[in-house]
Symmetry: C2
């Protein structure tokens, strides 16, 4: 970007550069228990600063792209996936986020469905990590992920966002597993059922999930669109 030729004086007068990054969440089965847990893809940095460390997918904002389009492109280019949910997280603009230049990063967070997430590209430089076992990331990306996790948990607790982790049809037990994985608690199945069934956006279908070992659970469908940000309004 500006780092190649710019000397110190030029760097200090150049406007802060603008980047887009994305925190991408998906549920994948834990290796140990097989239960769903939170994962996110990171990319390995192939140049300085922080060469070799893992970082959030991101890049500069091109002139003709909207902010959410740029975030979607990040997501597609690194994982090959399309998000089922995408929301702006925060604009991070601290003076010393990058040692070489002033960068303001507008960060988005996304949810992808597990059927897709299973197909996601992985390579030497792109790998999925458990959200609770990340190690040290480049820049301030640990803090960004922490904040994204906080927002995700908040949205899950109050809003109706869990369904974007799931496919079109799902059982109430699957919804409960999403809550249990993200909030890291266990929930009473009966009370959880009552709670979910009270939300009008959940529609009962006539279908049942067959092939399980026990009583076949009814399938449900989510009929709400996410609340809207200014781009696409949603609830804190």
């Amino acid at each position: 970007m500006y780092t190649n030729s710019a000397n110190v004086a030029e760097r200090q007068t150049a406007p802060p550069s603008l980047a887009i990054s994305t925190v991408i969440f998906a549920l994948r089965p834990s290796e140990a228990s097989g239960r769903p847990t939170l994962w996110l893809p990171l990319v390995r940095r192939i140049r300085e600063p922080y060469k070799g460390l893992w970082a959030l997918p991101g890049g500069p904002l091109s002139h003709s792209e909207s902010l959410p389009d740029a975030a979607s492109r990040n997501l597609r280019e690194t994982t090959g996936l399309a998000p089922s949910y995408l929301e702006q997280l925060y604009a991070f603009g601290g003076l010393h986020r990058s040692p070489t230049q002033r960068v303001v990063s507008i960060v988005y967070w996304a949810l992808v469905q597990p059927t897709e997430a299973a197909l996601a590209d992985e390579s030497e430089n792109v790998r999925w990590f458990r959200a609770d076992k990340l190690g040290d990331l480049a820049f301030d990306h640990n803090a960004i992920v922490d904040y994204a996790l906080w927002r995700l948990r908040n949205k899950l607790a109050y809003g109706s966002i869990a369904y974007h982790f799931l496919g079109e049809y799902f059982t109430l037990a699957q919804v409960r597993e999403v809550y249990e994985a993200v909030l890291d608690t266990s929930l009473d199945p009966a009370n959880f059922r009552r709670h979910i069934k009270a939300t009008p956006e959940i529609e009962e279908t006539g279908e049942y999930l067959q092939g399980g070992k026990h009583r076949p659970p009814r399938l449900y469908r989510f009929t709400g669109r996410p609340g809207l940000d200014p781009d696409n309004r949603s609830t804190p």
Copy 2:
């Protein structure tokens, strides 16, 4: 910025420029009823585009300023005030927000206390408006104010932010007036009292507000710091 000399080709390759704007809320007595209502200061644009229209205070991000510092500076330069609360609202980056160039605006919102707000500078080009009677603003600023209002109401309903509209000591009736003004409802005084007294951050003082016409109300104090964003974490 870039508009002076840049031709069309240069504009399309130049990186999007970055600006900071601020939505500043304060309670002031309504002319009609005398009850507190929501107001915000706007500045008149003195050049194109949108010359003559009212707009949110804002400006470019200087190289050595953090984002909240830039927002505070906006606030101080236009109104002479220091905010009692400041939080990032959203980064607006639509392609056609400004007709002349691509601008990404990181918008903050602030609360100021009415004792200060009464002293705020006003001039030919800086004036306070009732938040519900703004008319057409420059750029996408009507949408930005709408979103800021939505966030304010949300935070007020769930978080503990009302106190930043008030001074250090306040009566419970004053808190109720804040809620009534911002949410535009009327609330049962007894139930509201019970609700507020259940929050641990509200501390009873031994003092009473004297000089009123009726039974003197007890004064309270807010002892909580606002939750924290990544800069300064807070609740949806």
